[in-house]
């Protein structure tokens, strides 16, 4: 985005059309079209698009909140600052990802333990 110097609406359009999208395509496309209309700034366009598409995204509320804040700084500064903003957001997302993995592991372990416990209970009950 910053290297190519594409405006946000075009950048979102490219992201929507590219292979990066997946479940994010509707969010990128909606953000791009809202910005194209020139009525909203980037923060509001991103927020509205996120609200409209959040239901279809496999995210927790905490993740949605983080993504909402991210939009506030989009496009409001020069390339260096935008790089810094994106790096900071990437860091935050990585932290959330680590947390989600830990939770998955913990939950997985719990389920595994629960499974073993239920198996043992079944054995005890049946015998």
């Amino acid at each position: 985005m910053c290297v190519m110097g594409k405006p946000l609406n075009k950048a979102f359009e490219s992201l929507g059309k590219g292979n990066y999208g997946g479940v994010w395509v509707p969010l990128f496309n909606r953000s791009g079209s809202l910005l194209q209309e020139q009525i909203l700034d980037a923060g509001n366009a991103w927020r509205i698009a996120l609200e409209e598409t959040a239901a279809a995204l496999p995210l927790a509320q905490e993740d949605i909140d983080l993504l909402r804040d991210f939009g506030e700084l989009l496009g409001k500064s020069d390339r260096d600052m935008q790089h810094a903003v994106l790096a900071m957001e990437k860091e935050k997302v990585s932290a959330l990802e680590r947390k989600a993995k830990e939770e998955a592991e913990t939950t997985g372990k719990l389920y595994r333990n629960l499974g073993a416990l239920l198996g043992a209970a079944a054995v005890i009950l049946l015998i």
Binding site: K76, D78, M81
Partner: protein, 380 residues
């Protein structure tokens, strides 16, 4: 037709404006709005409209007034909002333009930016705290150079090295753009075949490229080096684009003059503009003497405004006047100041800043009017 196109341009500019400003602009009398050349939007200051050779304040009801206390006042947040809109909410994408002090918008409009300069070392990186924006509405007046073109033509396949001179805001770039179009396209009326042309458009004013596409018609044989410094652009064009004609705007430095000489040595013709009141004014500038006189430009087109109407004069390198039009007939829209009919406008015209001929610029000694065969004592 020109008025209609101009109003359409104003509509497109309005789409960038914050709501309150948009309402003011939409209330302007279309007849007067058609003559608007610039819209000056300063934070906490009155809204100013610039017309041909004069300016006036714009009131909240869209009327024009000479009294600033009756004018619509623009809020700081509105200037900021306008700035973000002009940047398509993507400041990083316009960073290089911002560092040069202007943005080129779709349609070829240009917005000058003022604010607090931000330096990184010795380099101007951009501006913050944007305090004012000046939106300039360009005029692509196709055909305005047609009466002049036969005087710079030097055969079916050649033109004279030509310099367009005038004070600011007298139509240099408009004329240059149309000359470029004719040179590139060719002209049956003038028995001219058309030549490969390169525009070195340092300030993106001639072709007004938006995302690589010229927004103005500069002809089918034209390549545009957009945003490129003149000296570098001329060298690049000579090396890689083999132009017959190079078109540049606003020559101003000794280095520019050296580059022009280099292009001449390489066999390319130059059509250029320069800020000046007349040839003598230009000759006295450091480094410019080499372009004037023997071995220099062969045609000089001098433009000016007198009492709101434009005049144009063409002379050769020896000061012989080849063409003169005291009421230069650019297409409808340039005489717009006369069509308003309002007293305020006429009064303002008489106080116009750009009245070079009224102020009396230096004469060119011995200048002769070739058409009338008489020596002209006064300057252009």
């Amino acid at each position: 037709m020109e008025k209609v196109r101009h109003l359409h341009a104003l509509d497109r500019i309005s789409s960038y404006l914050p709501d309150r400003l948009k309402r003011v602009v939409s209330r302007m009398d279309p007849g007067k709005a058609a003559g608007l050349e610039e819209l000056r939007i300063n934070a906490e200051m009155p809204l100013v409209g610039v017309f041909s050779g004069f300016d006036c304040f714009i009131a909240a009801d869209g009327s024009f007034t000479c009294r600033h206390d009756q004018a619509f006042r623009v809020g700081r947040e509105e200037v900021e909002e306008l700035f973000y809109r002009l940047c398509e909410h993507s400041v990083y994408a316009y960073q290089d333009d911002i560092a040069r002090g202007f943005l080129t918008l779709k349609g070829g409009y240009r917005a000058g930016i003022c604010g607090k300069a931000v330096y990184q070392g010795q380099t101007l990186k951009g501006f913050k705290d944007i305090s004012s924006i000046c939106i300039r509405i360009p005029r692509e007046l196709k055909g305005c150079a047609e009466p002049i073109f036969p005087f710079i033509r030097a055969g079916r396949h050649d033109i004279c090295n030509t310099l367009v001179i005038s004070p600011p805001r007298c139509g240099k770039t408009t004329l240059l753009r149309d000359l470029c179009r004719i040179i590139s396209t060719g002209s049956e009326a003038a028995d001219f075949a058309g030549l490969r042309t390169v525009i070195v458009d340092e300030r993106s004013e001639i072709a007004a490229c938006y995302r690589g596409v010229p927004q103005n018609d500069c002809g089918p044989r034209t390549d545009v080096l957009d945003g490129c410094r003149k000296a570098e652009g001329i060298e690049m064009a000579l090396r890689g684009l083999s132009p017959a004609v190079i078109v540049v705007d606003e020559l101003g430095t000794g280095q520019d003059a050296e580059s022009i000489k280099m292009a001449w040595n390489a066999g390319a013709r130059i059509v250029a503009t320069a800020h000046a009141y007349d040839i003598n004014d230009l000759r006295e500038r450091l480094g410019f003497g080499i372009l004037i006189g023997e071995g220099g430009f062969e045609r000089y087109i001098v433009l000016g405004i007198r009492n709101g109407s434009r005049w144009v004069k063409v002379s050769d390198a020896y000061g012989n006047r080849l063409y003169s039009d005291q009421a230069f007939r650019m297409p409808d829209g340039v005489f717009r100041v006369h069509s308003h009919g309002a007293e305020m406008f006429r009064e303002a015209e008489s106080q116009a800043a750009c009245t070079s001929e009224v102020q009396g610029h230096p004469a060119v000694p011995g200048e002769r009017d070739v058409r009338n065969g008489e020596t002209v004592e006064q300057g252009f």
